[in-house]
């Protein structure tokens, strides 16, 4: 029923060494990403939301190969990324590109724009300078820069224009998946709107898939088809944006949405205990990771739950194996039944 995925992440875990003992042996580990499963279909946008420190950025860095996963697989168009090598690895790499949060630090200050944009092609090799320049001009125009900008340096541009340069650079290898790591959080709202419009236009024209990381819930709702909510390196809820944001099933998602400042309603009264912070990820909590902050924790929470399909009225709860990619799933045995959601809406 679902198309073949462009990217699938299977049971991915990333741990970093925390402390070492006198002999240099690792004595504690930072559990950044804990057994994440993700799928991105061709042409869709998947949003990842969560607080800082929840592992969003580590997850995408593992996807693109900037950090080595401790366990689990990243599969791109049916090829296991870690198992490939040589030319095939290069080819897979070129299908995925990343746009970082801060264009100030992700663009080389000493290269002119045309070199910046074609840097990935330059690394791949096999193109003359003249060809690179022609390609740079095409890319620059496609992201709304003008051809006279090509010989300038990054510092001569505004934040929004620098982010356009970063997008043009990411597009240079004709990728199928763009990873956007908070691409607009350093920008003003009017400029943010321009960049978001540009990304949506590029998606329509080129059929790109996006993996969009953001802490801005209203932006993710606007931009993404599906969304995954992360908490302490784990996906706690996933599904179509409208389902997750309109009928959040996990207590954490509900708190997160209630905290989002909105023009419509004034400051909401939230229980003070909910505004706590992420637990230490050096020693993972036993059972449900959210248990200590959760208001509805009850019997069963001492056991770590699996993602299960949220029951809509008249349907049974499905396990992940039978569920489709775009089902609304939650890692909470309370939220999986409709009761919690009805309470939330009331």
């Amino acid at each position: 029923m679902d198309a073949t995925p462009l990217l699938s992440v299977e049971n991915l875990a990333v741990r970093f060494p925390g402390a070492r003992n006198w002999f240099g042996r690792v004595t504690s580990e930072v559990h950044a990403v804990n057994n994440v499963d993700l799928v991105v279909l061709p042409g869709e946008s998947l949003g990842i939301v969560g607080e800082s420190g929840c592992g969003k950025s580590t997850l995408v860095q593992a996807v693109i190969g900037l950090v080595a996963p401790t366990s689990g697989r990243v599969v791109v168009e049916g090829h296991d990324f870690a198992a490939t090598s040589g030319r095939q690895k290069t080819q897979i790499r070129q299908k995925m590109q990343i746009v970082f949060q801060d264009p100030q630090s992700s663009l080389d200050p000493r290269l002119p724009v045309w070199r910046l944009i074609t840097e990935p092609l330059h690394i791949r090799g096999g193109m003359s300078a003249a060809a690179l320049r022609t390609r740079a001009r095409e890319l620059a125009v496609s992201v709304g820069l003008r051809s006279e900008h090509l010989d300038r340096l990054a510092h001569e541009f505004s934040g929004g224009q620098r982010q356009r340069i970063a997008i043009a650079r990411a597009l240079s290898t004709d990728p199928e998946l763009l990873i956007l790591d908070e691409p607009t959080s350093a920008l003003d709202v009017s400029v943010q709107a321009q960049i978001i419009n540009l990304l949506l236009k590029l998606q329509r024209e080129l059929g790109l898939s996006y993996l969009f990381i953001s802490h801005d819930v209203s932006l993710v709702r606007h931009f993404c088809d599906r969304v995954a909510v992360m908490y302490l390196g784990q996906i706690v809820e996933t599904g179509p944006s409208s389902a997750v944001f309109d009928h959040p099933a996990h207590p954490y998602t509900q708190t997160l949405l209630a905290s989002v400042p909105s023009l419509q309603n004034s400051l909401q009264e939230i229980d003070a205990s909910l505004t706590g912070e992420l637990p230490n990820n050096r020693r993972l909590p036993t059972g449900c990771y959210y248990r200590e902050r959760c208001l509805v924790s009850s019997a069963g929470c001492e056991k770590l739950q699996d993602l299960a399909t949220v029951a809509s009225i008249g349907h049974d709860v499905k396990t992940p194996n039978e569920a489709g990619i775009s089902d609304h799933m939650v890692r909470c045995h309370v939220g999986v039944t409709a009761a919690l959601r009805l309470e939330h809406l009331a």
């Binding site: 607080e51 709202v189 606007h222 944006s241 209630a258 912070e277």
Partner: protein, 336 residues
Amino acid sequence: MTDIGMKPHALSIENLSLEFPTYDGAVKALDGVTIQVGNAEIVGLVGESGCGKSVTTMAATRLLPEGRYKITQGTIRLFGRDPTVMSDEDLQQVRGKLVSTIFQEPMNALNPTIRIGKQLVGVIRRHEAISRAAAETVAANILSDMLIPEPSRIMQAYPFELSGGMRQRVLIAMAFSCNPGLIIADEPTTALDVTVQAAILRLIQGRARRTGTSVVFISHNIAVVSQICDRLYIMYAGRIVESGPTRAVLDSPQHPYTRALLRCLPERVQPKAQLESIPGTVPNLLDPPAGCFYRPRCLEADERCHAKPQSTTLTGGQVVACWQRSKSQTHVSNEA
């Protein structure tokens, strides 16, 4: 120096213009800014980066580097006193005791080598003649007021041992510790997560309301500001373009810039629909355009906009600086 019989405004800035001389000429950072902050009032200052929000409040507390800026016209009154002519000793008494500032990045505002408790006690004893032990009690109380669990343990900690949200709470505690009459909160939640942000906003609002403290809340995020402020000032390129009660400004924005700013937000449109963006860029303040600064980007601009617009007060307390609103004072809906 206070006016007889009437309590002066916490902060009153009249027609303030300020420029920074550079080798390329004077950067006109503020141009005729007028802001009134009443007692026990929470006022929001909103605008995009570089519009002069921080410069306005830093001029008011004289935190700008001496000799690097020039006030070309206008007056500043902090509780009826003029900070520009105060002696350094007076100024140090005013800062912290009458006015205190919460900065955006708490790690930069706290001393990394001194324990939290000692920093708090230092601030309190600087302004109040009480013993160290008494000051420690005050500090512990105010920390627990900020919903910090185990204040005594936190007071023994160094800033780097705390999370960003905790550090920001410490900074807010420090700002409130001498019961100032005015708090300037300069983007206090920008570096924080939404759940922590919600808590911090509530803390600032709750404490200010209880103690009758005035707050100037600076933010680029109009949604955040709308949550806690009584009145809003919208700034653009060093000028106040619109001001008024929060609900009035949000429900019927009058200035084309305010409207555009609200329409840029993804909150109000259908998913995947084109977001409205403001064409063009902010003017160069070395050489701003004649007349209305927003004119080059404005869709409603006409001949009159080549002259500087005067502020017009509308019914309901909204003040707008736009030629298009000065003639017809009819209610223009948000959707228009």
